[in-house]
Symmetry: C2
């Protein structure tokens, strides 16, 4: 379990005497089936994870039913920053939609890692900033693009996800009815 994308990435990004084995002490490797949960709506979020392989779905149950908030795939972090930071109850659930392998680090271990390798904190900030900027550009798209334009952009930016994620999830993520997305797609496939 030592030769992971994450540890190689950390070793490369973070200038320190730390070796891959040292990083590995802080993380717990987990193999999840399809439809297993990383966190459930209403629970406390006490850890962060890196996805080695697979896809997770962020969603919540609202009055209109299930709403897809986000996706994350291999090479990305699973963060529920809002509840992680405030140690508040999570407003959303995160679950796998494929067999998925993750490396988990608890809040406490993360603090230790920060202390042992302060540069990690810089990396963490960059990850959070990236999430922030993505959120801003998602606002822009939801505000200014039509459903069909949103789909085209999503498909261009995430060609793999279009293959791996059920369409009604993508529809929900784009804020559109599944039937409408089907109608939209018909115009681009000939």
């Amino acid at each position: 379990m030592i030769e992971t994308t994450l540890f190689n990435l950390l070793k490369k990004e973070i200038p320190s005497e730390f070796e891959i084995e040292d990083f590995a002490r802080f993380f717990q490797y987990k193999k999840l089936e399809k439809d297993e949960y990383f966190i459930r709506q209403g629970e406390l979020c006490r850890s962060v994870a890196f996805i080695e392989k697979g896809i997770v779905l962020y969603y919540k149950i609202a009055d209109i039913g299930q709403v897809i908030c986000d996706f994350a795939k291999e090479g990305e972090w699973i963060t529920q920053y809002e509840s992680f930071v405030n140690q508040d109850l999570s407003p959303i659930s995160i679950k796998t939609i494929e067999p998925t392998e993750i490396l988990v680090i608890s809040f406490d271990k993360l603090q230790q890692l920060y202390e042992e390798v302060p540069t990690v904190m810089l990396l963490a900030r960059k990850i959070i900033e990236k999430a922030f900027f993505s959120s801003l550009s998602r606002n822009d798209e939801l505000q200014n693009l039509r459903a069909n334009e949103r789909y085209i952009k999503f498909a261009q930016d995430n060609p793999e996800l279009v293959q791996r994620i059920p369409q009604y999830y993508i529809a929900s993520y784009l804020g559109v009815a599944p039937q409408s997305l089907s109608r939209i797609r018909k115009k681009f496939i000939y």
Copy 2:
């Protein structure tokens, strides 16, 4: 210019020997007319400001024309975090839509302030986190609410702004045509 909302707030929030006068050294007070710019699309953003009084508009010129990205009013910070952090060209313009008074601090002075009063950095992080979380909930609203629901929520959350901001700006912010917003409003005013 010493008795400002900002300096009282800093004095209250930040435990230190710093007095109001000490904070004042770092900020430059500016009085802006209506329609003056804090930053223009395509320029470098080298400062942050606190609004003592007035309202600013975040907007950009896109292919569909002018698009309103955000508002900020007295008691809030003017930040263009994306370009501020990366020292990149600003993708948006920020201008006043009322006579407005602000307290400006440059990037360099902010670093100095961080060094002299480290707790300021915590405050800064909280401000950025707040912007992040607002962005997430704006995503949620744009994704899941209809135009009329978005307007109702906006009006509930910002009753003052509804009075002070032209409606076609609000329409653009909500991602709706001004005529549609007018139609929506008709149903709630009797």
